[in-house]
Symmetry: C2
Subunit: 275 residues, 2 copies
């Protein structure tokens, strides 16, 4: 018997993948969680039937969330990851020697638990001494923080279910307050083919709060349309003005310093969403 | 009844799209041709069950095949498109005022016929006075041409079926002979997630023949992995050294002059395929 999983990325379009085994399925307190072993992508984490990450292509998302803001900041020491219970962003954050402490605030402890079990190459570094893991509401954590972080990364699910608050202007204001005076934040902001209005709205909201607001993209084959956007808000430092000597050697599979800059060159129809 | 079409992009992964209507289906002399109306992408052309183009996302592929080499060449007058019977590349080529003549050599007349009927916004400009359409074998046409073209674009299907010859070193040698002394060619060369070996092989073959060999990418949501590569071979002109004043105003939806350069900044794992 051949079993295929299908994610409807829109009402009328989706991806489909052959599954070898369903590793785990449960309704947590927050969402439906499935871990499946696919033939093409290795183990794959799904939340509310949407692909969150896979063993084979996870490096793109995690590298691009982490390294763009971390190389933009001249000396990031305290980093907060909101969401991201699979641990992939934390793994990349820890590659930066300046980082003293990385805090992960994930609302759903089950995501952490099953990522550690089935995605060990992604979640393994959550055990690192520099990492503090809090199972808590990221929105509240942000509201309670003041000038605490150099860089904040919002590694959320889509704006449905538990993450709906994480796409509001109030949240971005809270992030600004939680950041130090030269802080930077980045959030995943979905794809321009099916969610153009969301990107437009978030960009415009962030721009009202942060002096430097920029959109960049990366190719993620298991995400809708394959073209993912990230919105970056910064109080001072501009990702397009990072000096050559800021970059240091780092083992990556997607990010390069050339791509750091190139990822901000947007297709015309995406650029239009920021204007 | 809800009808969905599924393209298996690998043995174990694919895309699936809701279909409103099957416009046309036939086995031509060369391949299986299907034209379907999808809810998400409008009319979609399939050859041998692989998505060739759709009304909604076609602009990406067609703009990126055409404008990168055409702006790299200082004064392209004679352009050849091998394959590309849907007419989308020709439409973009004609946006360049320097172009005196654009020749299309498509092996399968049925592709042209049904593109004109069901993809009029793509195939419409095939009627333009500057266009010559030949229903012929592109491989033979190249073999019979000498110093005839400024720019040659290979808009082929995958290297199975009628296009298998178009991915050989002999073909690239023929292209070199068919080009003028400062000619440029570009070919679509599939995606780095599932066809890494093909990209590596083509890049290495082209590099033995053309002094300037470069790989660039674009996001095409209905193509496997969403990340598509194009291999460019040039006798003299370097796409990375195009001067600011060469670009002129042109209506596009994907291509911009910033993206012209940025599209050559490759993800690390793709860059590795060229080294």
């Amino acid at each position: 018997m051949s079993i295929w999983f299908t994610e409807k990325q829109t009402e009328n379009f989706g991806i489909t993948a052959k599954i070898n085994k369903i590793q785990h399925s449960e309704q947590t307190d927050f969402q439906k969680l499935d871990m499946v072993e696919t033939e093409e992508w290795g183990n794959m984490l799904l939340l509310d039937d949407m692909v969150m990450t896979t063993e084979k292509d996870e490096f793109v998302y995690h590298e691009m969330v982490a390294h763009v803001p971390l190389f933009t900041h001249p000396n990031p020491k305290h980093v907060l990851v909101v969401g991201g219970g699979d641990g992939g962003v934390i793994r990349e954050v820890l590659k930066h020697p300046s980082v003293v402490k990385a805090t992960l605030v994930e609302i759903d402890g089950k995501v952490i638990e099953y990522s550690k079990k089935y995605l060990p190459t992604i979640a393994g570094t959550l055990e690192d001494a520099r990492v503090e893991v809090k199972v808590d509401d990221g929105f509240l954590h942000i509201a309670q923080s003041e000038k605490a972080y150099d860089v904040i990364m919002v590694d959320s699910t889509e704006p449905v279910g538990p993450a709906v608050n994480l796409f509001t202007k109030g949240f971005y204001s809270g992030i600004s307050k939680a950041l130090k005076d030269d802080g930077i934040f980045v959030a995943q902001t979905d794809n321009p083919w099916f969610k153009a209005d969301l990107i437009s709205q978030v960009f415009s909201d962030v721009k009202e709060i942060f002096p430097v607001t920029r959109l960049y993209t990366a190719n993620i084959p298991t995400y809708p349309s394959g073209l993912w956007t990230f919105t970056l808000g910064s109080k001072i430092h501009d990702p397009l003005k990072v000096k050559e000597d800021r970059f240091n050697e780092m083992e990556t599979k997607y990010y390069t310093k050339e791509l750091h800059f190139a990822s901000f060159a947007l297709p015309k129809f995406v650029k239009d969403l920021t204007e």
